[in-house]
Amino acid sequence: MRQLAYHEAKLEALRELMEEDDRVYLIGGTFFSLSPHRLGFAAVEKAYPDRVAAPPISELGFCGLATGAAMAGLRPVVDLTTGSFLFEAWPQVCNEAANVLYMSGGQVRAPVVFHMLHGLRGGGAAQHSASPQAMLWNCPGLEIVLPSSPRDVKGLLKSAVASENPTVFIDHSGLFDTEGPVPEADHVPLGQADVKRAGADVTLIGTSLALHRALGVAEVLAREGIDVEVVDPRTLVPFDLDTVMASVEKTGRVVVVDETHQSCGVAAEIAARIVETGFDKLKGPIRRVATLDVPVPYSQPLEEHIGPSEGRITAAIRESIG
């Protein structure tokens, strides 16, 4: 199977979306933030000058605009660049887009996609490093997508745009240069977790960039005979609890690795669901490796310290298998 870099697969998805569906409009950003891969996006912009718009610095305004355009028949994909800037658009995303289908009693759909990069990015400091997916998971009505591989980013971006619902599509700049197989004709539905590594001793659940750290640790521990299963939910909403629970039933031990802040973070919810559903299967506590509950520091060693590092993942696994 052909191998692509994550950024190539993502760009391919954007290109195909533009080609296949003339309701798709791209609003804002470069979809690759300040990375050099933004030049790839420039070509898309050039090919579809009427369907790619560079808005003012008005996240609230243009996320609302995209939502309204979706209600009226388009399939807009908005790039907010950094997840932190989604905060600017919070009322339009969480109080308009998320609610319209329900409060209209099913009459009006808003199939808009909000795209952004999340997390610790190397010097982003407190105001440019948000991982908004946990807050968003507390807001019913939004689908939440977190790709981690070239195949997933392409397949999930296409599914997100095809979806009838408002979808938050969350990337990580640390993934752009990851390589992996991408089948030519492929479909990755929302709501299907992926076992990225099979194992028998402990279940490691992770998303986005943190998933790669988890995989790295799994390889290292394999040499010691610790056999880690790594599960990537891929989407938080819808959430594929069955695949997660199948793994938990097998291992009885769980570590959740995630880059949102710990309190009320993604790891909290996954832990709570597993406890509710499979308490009897657990051989010990579920351990969370999340970002510490502090604003994100600028200084490099501090930033590295607060994130879900390989050191902390390794320690959690060791504690878990006792």
Binding site: T67, A69, N165, P189, L190
Partner: protein, 342 residues
């Protein structure tokens, strides 16, 4: 003044104004009787804005409104029974009881969202205009909102986008604060808005903006007509501010009807309690419209009485319809969170 229209259309507009008025008065009564809960806002005093304005739109135009939406829905031809059923949270409401007063939003009439977030619809409506322009559908989007919306930052952001991208959107700002609470006496300067007149704000964004008397149906008709034409011919967004005097029944947060509307009040307000009489005499757009219809020879009082009675009958039937409608099944609470993906 009354718009220069054939009599049938004028009577149709009069009928709609009376429908709005009686609907709201009935609603207030039902609330005072404790027959429904929840907060609501009435359109009384703004009938001569919504009715002529909405009559000028095409069937496929896209509408956005706010918490003060009942009048817009009825002006657009909405069924008072289904509107009331929604306000009661019943199954036959336009939103199957899930939206309520603030959010009743008949899609079949072109309403895409009635938002309770002040200012929230301006980005949305601007987006609908973006879709219309992108697809060259010929539609326009209309945002119907209050003067307070201009205090929210979402609104200038929307103005900027609409102006830069020349989007086919009409911003209709119903300023119901003329001489109202919170405003300095004798002036129109609001205690919470430094921009005055309000049209200065869209004008700064190069959006042509005018003020009109929102209790004068002819003035509303004319301003809207001109703006809609300009928008449809590709001229980009327009802003209209309509001025009306806040109905004294809404001075508190829970409205009170001190003088039920009747045809003869248009000529004699002496029976109205003194503290609110001036409003009915000088600022009531429905009484004014009826007066002008008669003065201009388009109708006589008897015709209006007949019309009024038929509206009251319609309201009574609507109330019965709405209360006969059951509450939704509990399982409905968990549907419509997501539309099915194909």
């Amino acid at each position: 003044m009354i718009p220069a229209l054939p009599k049938t259309q004028l009577l149709a507009q009069c009928r709609k104004m009376l429908l709005v008025r009686h609907f709201e008065e009935a609603l207030i009564g039902l609330h005072h009787e404790g027959r429904f809960r929840g907060h609501y806002h009435v359109y009384i005093g703004q009938e001569a804005t919504g009715v002529p304005a909405i009559s000028l739109l095409q069937p496929d135009d896209l509408l956005f409104s706010t918490h003060r939406n009942h009048g817009h829905i009825l002006a657009r031809g909405g069924d008072p029974g289904r509107l009331l059923a929604e306000i009661l949270g019943r199954r036959d409401g336009y939103n199957r009881g899930k939206g309520g007063s603030f959010h009743t939003s008949p899609r079949e009439l072109g309403f895409l969202q009635c938002s309770g977030v002040v200012g929230g619809i301006l980005p949305l409506g601007t987006g609908a205009a973006y879709a219309a322009k992108s697809r060259a559908s010929g539609q326009i989007a209309v945002c119907l909102f209050g003067d307070g919306a201009l205090e929210e930052g979402a609104v200038p952001e929307a103005f900027n986008l609409a102006s830069l991208w020349k989007l086919p959107v009409l911003y209709l700002c119903e300023n119901n604060g003329k001489y109202g609470a919170g405003n300095a006496v004798g002036a129109m300067q609001s205690s919470t808005m430094a921009v005055y007149p309000l049209t200065d704000l869209p004008a700064a964004y190069k959006i042509p903006a005018v003020q009109v008397d929102g209790t004068d149906a002819a003035a509303v008709h004319e301003a809207l007509n001109e703006s809609i034409e300009a928008i449809r011919s590709g001229g980009g967004p327009r802003f209209i501010e309509t001025l009306s005097v806040r109905w004294p029944g809404s001075e508190t947060n829970w409205p009170v009807v001190k003088a039920p509307t009747a045809v003869d009040l248009a000529w004699d307000v002496s029976g109205i309690p003194e503290d609110v009489r001036a409003w009915y005499r000088d600022s009531d757009p429905v009484l004014r419209f009826m007066r002008e219809l008669v003065e201009s020879g388009q109708a006589d009082k008897a015709e209006l009485e007949t019309l009024n009675r038929s509206v009251l009958d319609q309201i009574n039937a609507a109330v019965d319809f709405a209360f006969d409608s059951p509450y939704p099944e509990l399982s409905e609470a968990e549907t419509d969170v997501f539309a099915e993906n194909r």
